[in-house]
Amino acid sequence: MTSVTTLTPSAAELHLASRKRQSLIIVICCTVIGAAAQVLLKLGAESLAHPSLLQAAIGIFTNPYLFFGYACYGIFAALLVVALRHGELSLLYPVIALNYAWVSILSVVIFHEHMNALKIAGVSVIILGVAVLGRNGSKA
């Protein structure tokens, strides 16, 4: 009996490739939610001024910024686990660094922090790195 060699990818391989792609997209969404969480926590911290540890702990439930900030972190963790089920850790973990890029952009928009050439270059290089990983991820 002769073995059959297929040159085209099998249905299973294609399925795996689409799962990997989905995982990558989920983690990218994750980083946007993670950045939103950080911005909300900063807004919450500013509205509390100088809270004691107890005031901060109560604030998680009474301050809407802090509440939704921590809720975002919960969603972040849940989505990350969903992505990790089928995605590669070595690919998805570095992508979480996109978080830094979004926070840096949001800081300019919301907190009017100034952007300089080095920061813009840094954000661009992180996005480029994720794009390189994305190319790797689209291959099965």
Binding site: R85, L89, A117, A121, L128, G129, L133, N136
Partner: protein, 117 residues
């Protein structure tokens, strides 16, 4: 301002803990099935989340004690360890494309932090 060794140790430990946490998250995620007990009795997932949270605590403590420009490159340890765990425990392939992507991301993080001084 000089960066004490204790600050470096805290950041390095935080990075290492975060990478181990991520590996447990992956192990826990893989063990999930449609049955609810796979989530309820998932100690790996719980351990992963705990280590991930703890890593940020060590990280913040470290950063409060030293200079960001010295401490941030130490975060790279976490990324390199994660690549190692991925290969050892999950038998993932570490391709040159992946290394290039991680290298770019690390360079970007360092540039951003030099820019925010």
């Amino acid at each position: 301002m000089t960066t004490p060794v204790s600050a470096m140790a805290l950041v390095l430990f935080g990075s290492l803990l975060g990478s181990i946490g991520a590996a447990f998250l992956k192990a826990g995620a893989v063990a999930l099935t449609r049955h609810w007990t796979s989530l309820a009795y998932n100690w790996k997932l719980l351990l992963g989340v705990t280590m991930y949270l703890l890593s940020s605590v060590f990280f913040i403590m470290g950063i409060a004690r030293g200079e960001l420009s010295v401490l941030y490159p130490m975060v790279s340890l976490g990324y390199i360890c994660t690549l190692a765990w991925s290969r050892i425990f999950f038998h993932e392939r570490i391709t040159s494309t992946k290394l290039a992507g991680v290298g770019l991301i690390l360079a970007g993080i360092i540039m951003m932090n030099l820019g925010s001084r």
